[in-house]
């Protein structure tokens, strides 16, 4: 186990190092940072002065190692554009992104796994076809389109809509008035409903299909036949003996999807005005705010590795045959 963890840690460091170099190089190639900082009407002298002030006139490797040595000492530097501490910028936004990512994954799994099990149990029936249709639709739907449609339906149309003479915004359920969902911001849990639906729709299809495939394979195996023959209840066969084995690839997939949700939710964050790391990364890339982008890249790369490590450990727990090697 120690050997396994040590090896994983070394891989994590190597990946973070590689990502930081690649990210640094790509940022440098994407535009002239000194000219961007200096502004539209800056002269060549102004740009050169800015380059000197911000250390951008130093050789590429000097700039990179300067950043690296500071980062290893815990100093991620300041934003070149707002002079804000990069650490503070990221940590103040991480809560939103993590909440969004975990909530989306949770609801995605909540829908996808039962749907996948159902599709496998009722294979080649209308239930199965229907589930696959839902999965395909989820996969084909661009999440920015879905986000805007949700805003329109639940944020705008709902407030003025009347159905069968009843104003939808005046309907109450358990004393709570359904006056429409908040369109943007992150002040309360209600602000996360539409963003989570949007991202859960992204999570669901692949998980559902892998669950279905895994379950079908397991349900046709010898030991499941034996369990049925021994008289075990269908529920026990399904959930105790089958799902546990079918779920292993889902754990790995979920880990990767969680990593993607944390790094790729920029569209959802900007549409719903959720001030998360994804939108910060987007803003910083456009501006070529190098310290911010570098730090986010490295943090996300490390997060991916930690997530896959966590997934491996869960798999080892679920299946004793899996050894952490």
């Amino acid at each position: 186990m120690t050997h396994f963890l040590t090896r994983r840690l070394l891989i994590a460091l190597l990946v973070a190092f590689t990502v930081s170099i690649v990210g640094f190089a790509l940022l440098r190639l994407s535009g002239d940072l000194a000219a961007v900082l200096a502004g539209e009407d800056a002269s060549a002298e102004d740009i050169a002065r800015i380059a000197r002030q911000y250390g951008l006139d130093r050789p590429f490797y000097v700039q990179y190692f300067d950043w690296l040595f500071n980062a290893l000492r815990g100093d991620l530097g300041n934003s070149l554009f707002t002079h804000e501490s990069v650490w503070e910028m990221i940590t103040s936004r991480l809560g939103v992104t993590v909440t969004l990512a975990f909530a989306s994954l949770f609801f995605g799994l909540l829908i996808a796994i039962p749907l996948g099990v159902l599709a496998a149990v009722r294979a080649n029936t209308w239930v199965d076809r229907g589930s696959l249709f839902v999965a395909v639709m989820g996969q084909a739907t661009p999440n920015f389109w879905l986000a805007l449609i949700l805003i329109y339906v639940f944020g705008v149309w709902w407030r003025g809509a009347t159905v069968l003479g009843v104003r939808l915004a005046e309907i109450k359920i358990f004393g709570v008035q359904l006056s429409g969902l908040p369109i943007s911001g992150g002040d309360s849990w209600l602000h996360f409903v539409m963003p989570v639906i949007t991202l859960a729709t992204f999570v669901m299809p692949a998980v559902m299909r892998i669950t279905r495939t895994g379950m079908m394979e397991v349900l046709s195996s010898d030991y499941v036949r034996t369990a049925r023959a021994k008289g075990l209840s269908p529920t026990k066969v399904l959930f105790k003996h089958s799902l546990r084995n079918a779920i292993l690839p889902v754990v790995s997939l979920a880990a990767v999807q969680l990593g993607f949700l944390m790094s790729g939710s920029v569209i959802v964050e900007s549409i719903f005005a959720l001030n998360g790391v994804g939108y910060l990364a987007f803003q910083s890339i456009i501006r070529i705010d190098f310290p911010v982008v570098q730090s986010i890249l490295v943090i996300l790369a490390c997060s991916y590795i930690l997530l896959t490590l966590f997934a491996d450990m869960i798999n080892a727990k679920l299946d004793p045959r899996v050894r952490l090697e």
Binding site: G31, A35, E84, A273
Partner: protein
């Protein structure tokens, strides 16, 4: 289909006057910023949204009224240009910062010294690089000495040069933190919070001593600036009463929204204009552009009137311009006008220049000018020029510019709101942005920056812009007013000294 959906949504929700009325009752105006800001300090983060916000918080010595083209005192009581390089300013007594401390000459001296200190690491520090020294000559008087005669000094001090409190700003090791964690000024609004997620909340400064009707005490008590990056989300919020003001929307959506009884749009004249320029120096691989006839032919093919009517929002405030500047800026005149639109003559001239079948042309556009560039590409194709548009971010454009790869550029320029064409002339200095290599333009630029006599200065700039038009280096297109889309319960002024929008203190509730 999207437009019909928007129209239907707008009308469906139009009856919901409740949210707008509620905000008026609470005396709270909510403005959406598409590019969120995390500081109120315009020196650290000099982008349009910051300049709009900081103007309400930090008073300047003077301000410029574009409507009457004159300087008015704000913190200054009086001023005198005692020599071409010395400006003496008397400061109003009894003005206090939001924390109650009195504003004196010490704060003015401190602020200007901070702006001119190389260690301050300010992106646009060059705006104040003309200042040699700022000295306190009394508790309420300062002397500002420039390195050389600087005719635009007043204009610069009136544009985005807010005075900071020395007793607070100097305590920050990282001066960039001031605009986030302290944000104390002497202006009509004070800051209640600056939060990257929630936005910025401004509350009327009840102790504000207005210098005059040009900078009055605000009519609205509270302003909340909400960060909403996506335009469609802003529109959804506006029509459901979640916000009251959007700073900019495309022309078609602005017109559609304004059809609703609960939404209005107001165009505000400012210093922003659009233009196209060409690689007359032959830096790119398109050598045809070195030929003045080719350049004239290309400009003759551009129907500026059509662009003004169909591309930009702003109605009558979108005006054709003869020089790359706006009428509110000192020195904006060109006796020699740009070439007139004439498609037939353009094609004939292109053929005469040796290109009867046209050629391929790359038009680079930057944010804010993409639609104009696309329209121009279509107009050029009508005369056989195979125009295509490269839509770039600002950073990518600057890189391409520096590499000498721009053939035609369609862009907008704001001068940072400076009411003087000296900032426009910055385009004609040597370096990576020089696509004309015109000795005359450099001469005009240097002369204009040093001439203190207003009439002589006007003549210099007239000659400069006429030279531009004669040689078809650049085609000025039209003004680009700020177009605010807002709740119908809000009244906006129709002029502003700020290029990005309107002064917050001039916004009021409709009676």
């Amino acid at each position: 289909m999207a437009k019909n959906v928007l129209a239907a949504a707008t009308l469906a929700v139009a009856l919901l006057a409740g949210p707008a009325a509620a905000q008026k009752a609470q005396d709270t105006l909510r403005i959406a910023f598409g590019d969120p800001i995390s500081t109120t300090d315009p020196y650290i983060d000099p982008k349009p949204e910051t300049s709009l916000t900081s103007d309400a918080i930090y008073d300047k010595l003077f301000m410029y009224l574009s409507a009457t083209r004159e300087f008015k005192p704000v913190l200054a009581k009086s001023w005198k240009q005692v020599s071409p390089t010395v400006l003496e300013v008397q400061i109003r007594e009894g003005v206090t910062f939001h924390d109650g401390k009195e504003l004196t000459a010490d704060d003015v001296v401190y602020t200007f010294n901070y702006l001119t200190d190389k260690k301050s690491k300010l992106r646009f520090g060059r705006n104040w690089a003309w200042i040699k020294s700022t000295e306190k000559t009394g508790k309420y008087s300062v002397r500002i000495t420039s390195k050389r005669p600087t005719p635009f000094a007043m204009a610069r001090l009136a544009t985005g040069t807010g005075i900071f409190p020395k007793h607070l700003h100097s305590t920050f090791k990282n001066r960039g933190e001031f605009g986030r964690k302290s944000a104390v000024g002497s202006g009509p609004y004070k800051v209640e919070y600056v939060d990257a997620s929630k936005g910025i909340k401004l509350v009327r400064n009840e102790a504000y001593k207005s210098p005059g009707p040009w900078r009055p005490k605000p009519g609205i008590k509270t302003i909340i600036i909400k960060p909403i990056p996506e335009l469609q989300t802003q529109i959804a919020q506006l029509i459901t009463g979640g916000i009251d003001v959007i700073l900019a929307a495309p022309k078609d959506q602005t017109e559609q929204l304004a059809q609703s009884p609960t939404v209005s749009s107001t165009a505000i004249a400012n210093t922003v204009y659009q233009y196209v320029n060409l690689d007359a120096a032959g830096r790119s691989d398109l050598k045809a552009l070195k030929n003045p006839d080719v350049r004239r032919a290309l400009f003759m093919a551009i129907n500026r009137k059509s662009l003004a009517e169909n591309v930009l929002a702003g109605g009558k405030l979108v005006k054709l311009i003869d020089a790359p500047c706006t009428q509110s800026q000192f020195g904006c005149k060109a006796s020699v006008k740009p070439v007139k639109f004439d498609k037939k003559a353009a094609k004939a001239l292109l053929a005469k220049a040796g290109y009867p079948n046209g050629f391929a042309l790359d038009i680079t556009s930057i944010p804010g000018s993409h639609e104009t560039a696309a329209a121009i590409a279509g107009q050029l194709r009508a005369i056989g020029v195979r125009a295509s548009v490269s839509r770039l971010t600002f950073g990518a454009y600057r890189k391409k510019q520096g590499a000498g790869k721009l053939q035609m550029l369609a862009a907008n320029f704001s001068s940072g709101g400076l009411p003087d064409v000296s900032s426009v002339m910055a385009f004609y200095q040597a370096g990576p942005r020089d696509y004309w290599r015109s000795k005359e333009m450099k001469t005009y630029r240097n002369k204009g920056a040093a001439e203190m006599d207003p009439k002589k200065r006007e003549a210099i700039y007239d000659a400069a812009f006429s030279h531009l038009n004669k040689n078809a280096y650049l085609l000025p297109l039209m003004t680009k007013p700020a177009v605010l889309v807002h709740s119908a319960s809000v009244t906006m002024p129709n002029s502003s000294s700020l290029f990005a929008g309107v002064e917050f203190y001039n916004i009021s509730w409709k009676k």
